[in-house]
Amino acid sequence: MKKIIRLLPHSIYEAPALENWLSAQSEKGLFLRSANGFFAIFSKETPQKTTYHFEPITGMVAIPPQELLESYAAFGWEYVTCISGLYHVFVNKAETPEPLHTDPLVQSLAYKKIEKKVNNSLSITAIMLVYLFFEHLLLEKKDVITLSACIETNVLLFFLADILFVILLFFARLLPCLHIRRQMKAMQNGSFPAPKSSRKRHPHSGYCMVGAVLCLGFMLWFPFSLTQYLSPEEAAAQQGHTPVITLEEIEGLPPKYPIKHTDESTYFQDYLYSEDSSLLAPKQFILRQEKTPTATESKTSAYLWMQYVNVAFPALAEPLYQEKIEADLPEDAVLLPSAATTEADSLQIYASADGTYLFLRKDTAILSVYHEGTGDPVAYLDDFLLLLQEGEPFLPE
C-alpha cells in the first residue's frame, strides 16, 4: 500500500477546516492513516467520498474507551487515529452519516480541555515575555547591556532574530486560542461544523512555531559564524602574534575557569570569555568598584563586580559570571592619583603605608592585581605595566 505524506494546510486547532480537507483528500483516493501537528500520512486507495470527524479528547488517556468506539461504530464511525493528543479522528463512509453530536453546546464543552490547554500555554508564554521584557529593562538600567552595545558589537542580526523569535512564539500560542474560541463560539451559535464551501484560510500557528524554531536555530548557529569575537588568545594567534609570556605561566595564578579567588595575595585574572562559546564582546565586560566604609570599622573595602553578559541573546541576557571580590584594604589605603602614577587614566592604584597595593584596570576589567610588597608603588606599577605589555596579545582592544 502506497503511503503519501502531506503537509496539513490548516492549523491543528482548526478542526472543521481539517475535516473538510481530509474529506476532499478521500475523494482523490487519499485516506488518512496517521497524523501529527504538521503532517498527515495517507494511503492510496480507490477514491470514495468519506466524512471525517475530529473528537476532542476529554479523558486523561489518549486511547478511546472500547465502549465509546463501539457506540461510534454503531453510527458508522470508525476510529482512524489520534492527532497530537488533542483529537480522536473518526471516519464515516456513508453518503449521509449520522451526526455524532446532537447538541452544539455540549460539543463546545468537548473543546474546553483544548481551550484550557492553549490558554495555559499562552499564559506561560506571556509570563515569559513579560519576564524577558522587564529583565531586559533592568539590564539596560544597570548598563549591563544596551541595544546600542548590541549594534556596536555587530550582533544586531542576533538581536532581531531574538525579537522575531519571541514574537513568533507568542503568535504560535495566540493563534490556537483564537481558533478554538472561534470554533466554540460557532458551536454555541449552532453553526458548527463549518460549511464545506468555506475556503477562508486562517494563519497557521504551526508555521509560526516553525519560524520560531528557525530563529532559535539561527541564534544557536550565529556565534559560531563570527570571527571577530574570538578570544583574545585566538585573535592574537590569528594575527600571528606569539605570546612572550602568558598569564598562566605566572606562578600562583588560579585556574582560568571557574575563578576560584581564594587568596587575596595571589594574582587574580580572568579569561572567562575565552572559555565560553557564547558571544561576548569586550565592551560587555563591566567592572564596578564600590568603596564601602563601615561605621564601626574604619576600614575600606573594595568590591569588584565582574559581569559577563551574553550579548548574543540580549533578551535573555544575564550575567554569566558575577562575583563579589572583597579586597580588604588597610585602613590607611588611599587612592593614588592616576596622573601621579601612570599615564593610563584607566588605572587606579590603591596604596597603603605597609606597601599593599591594589591595581585596578577599569576599562577592560581583565586584570586586577592585588600585590603585596613594600617600597615605591611606582616600581610595582612598572612591573604591572610590563606585565600588561607582555600580556598584550591577551587583552582586548
Partner: protein, 103 residues
C-alpha cells in the same frame, strides 16, 4: 467557566441527568431511556452522550460504579440530584410564567 456552563443544563444534559434518577445506567441504557421517554423527540448522538458523561463525572454529578467488560455504569451523586431538583424548579417557574401570560 466550566461550572458556569452547567448552571444551565441543555435539554440533552437534563435528560441524561433524568436517566439516573431511578437506577444506575451505562451509555447504552441512557440512549434507550431518552428515546423511550421522549418518544424519539430527543435524540442523543454518541459524541454528545460521552461528552456529557465525562463532564458530569468531572463535575461530580455522577460517579462510575462498575466496569463490566466494556460497559461502564454510573450513578447520580447528591450534587447531581440537587442540580436536577434545581433545574426542575427553574423549568416549573418558566412554565408558570408562560402560562400566566397565556390569553
Amino acid at each position: 467557566m466550566a461550572k458556569k456552563t452547567l448552571e444551565l443544563l441543555t435539554e440533552t444534559m437534563f435528560y441524561v441527568l433524568m436517566a439516573f434518577q431511578k437506577q444506575e445506567m451505562c451509555g447504552a441504557d441512557i440512549v434507550q431511556f431518552i428515546t423511550a421517554r421522549t418518544n424519539h423527540r430527543v435524540s442523543i448522538g454518541p459524541g454528545t452522550l460521552y461528552t456529557i458523561l465525562a463532564k458530569f463525572e468531572e463535575e461530580a454529578l455522577i460517579v462510575e460504579t462498575a466496569v463490566e467488560g466494556r460497559k461502564r455504569t454510573y450513578r447520580i451523586t447528591e450534587k447531581g440530584k440537587l442540580l436536577y431538583t434545581e433545574e426542575i424548579a427553574r423549568l416549573r417557574a418558566c412554565i408558570a410564567d408562560a402560562e400566566a401570560e397565556m390569553i
